[in-house]
Point group: C2
Chain length 242, copies 2
């Protein structure tokens, strides 16, 4: 069985200007791997309507599931919900259930439920809400696209709500072997190993430490027995460099 595929779309000028270092992609990558969903592509685009609409439509056509992060707050640069509606060709307006969630929240905190905050209740027609246990303003799912906040702890809470609703495949397992010689020594035998185990993914991640070269070899797959077998070959082959 081939695992389901996913893509991530990170929305926000602050990542592309270097002001903020994105943390959500790495988090989502790990969660999807555990859940048996293969993250095939990630994109970062700026707060630009055309760029967001085009990326959403590209990715939702190419992959089973798309996750977005960022741009669903109350400020003028939060345009994700409107862009998603445009990408799907559906309407968008303040929705009663989302509005009620927010109204109750602000009644409790005493903050004014003003026009800017009401923007966070704008939900594309036909979407379902994603719970936000941190700051209430919901994300939403429309078609195969899950639209989530960019603030990392809220993003993570929303991923935790969405993931159990998705059909995962076999979790991707991996084993790593550190080999203390340069990638150029390892490359030939590794290529042979990859040919002998076409069902596994075998990666080599070189490093240089204290002037010496080495590489971490990562063997990934869904069958623990096959990974063990490949790892045994590798250990035998490089017994002198472990």
């Amino acid at each position: 069985m081939t695992n389901p595929t996913a893509a991530m779309l990170v929305i926000g000028d602050e990542i592309l200007s270097g002001r903020t270092r994105d943390a959500n992609m790495h988090y989502l990558a790990n969660e999807l791997t555990k859940h048996g969903i293969t993250l095939k592509e990630a994109r970062v685009v700026s707060d630009d309507r055309d760029a967001i609409v085009a990326a959403v439509n590209d990715l939702r056509a190419a992959f089973d599931t798309v996750f977005t992060s960022g741009g669903i707050g109350p400020t003028h640069d939060d345009i994700t919900a409107d862009c998603i509606a445009a990408a799907f060709g559906v309407g968008i307006d303040i929705r009663d259930d989302a509005r009620a969630l927010l109204a109750a929240h602000y009644a409790k905190t005493g903050a004014e439920f003003n026009a800017a905050r009401q923007r966070m209740a704008r939900i594309p027609d036909g979407a379902t809400l994603i719970d936000n246990p941190i700051s209430v303003a919901p994300g939403f799912t429309i078609g195969n696209v899950h639209v989530m906040a960019g603030v990392p702890n809220i993003f993570q809470a929303m991923v935790a709500s969405v993931l159990p609703t998705l059909t995962g495949g076999d979790p991707l397992l991996s084993q790593t072997l550190r080999i203390n010689c340069g990638e150029g020594e390892i490359a030939g035998p590794l290529s042979d190993l990859a040919a002998d185990f076409p069902d596994l993914s075998i990666g080599s991640y070189p490093f240089q430490r204290d002037g010496a070269y080495g590489s971490n070899i990562v063997i990934r797959g869904t069958d623990a027995g096959r990974i063990d077998a490949a790892m045994t070959h590798l250990c035998d082959r490089f017994a002198g460099a472990l």
Copy 2:
């Protein structure tokens, strides 16, 4: 004047599986901002030929300059150079000048200049080499695409070689103001400010600390005087929450 645009393509399964957290995108974003080049999009794709070729061709058509990282080492999963040649529709083979660089390096270190290491001298026809002061194996530039290593210190050294060859625009300047109230309070006045200063980019990056909400407002542009003027407005408006 509009600043030149750029995109980045990160190539590697290890980022998408969550094993490795990409560091190069954040580094490049900062360097480009300083150099007056606007990073408009970043993509991460896996070690998959079709995905790499398609992304390279999309991005080089859409933006002034493209930077890639990853996949130019000696192992079987290093397929970037071949994919770039395919994307440009040119041939690729071991090139004498690249081979000579590597041969001299391995002669000095005493390591065997074997077939795997010779693969690192495969350069698409018509490309120019990018110097690698760390581990010698070169990157290359073809058309508007700069192909660089994924190992962060090598990537950074290659960026340092390439950037001075590119025409930059006005460096993007920014000022940040921390406002200690929720984004919902800030959003209305901020939207007015954005309308009054259409030449500036005004972003709001909310945070929550010790149970209190706040937001960092970042004003970006190329004219220091205009940024000062907008920042003065903002300080006056939120004098009570600074």
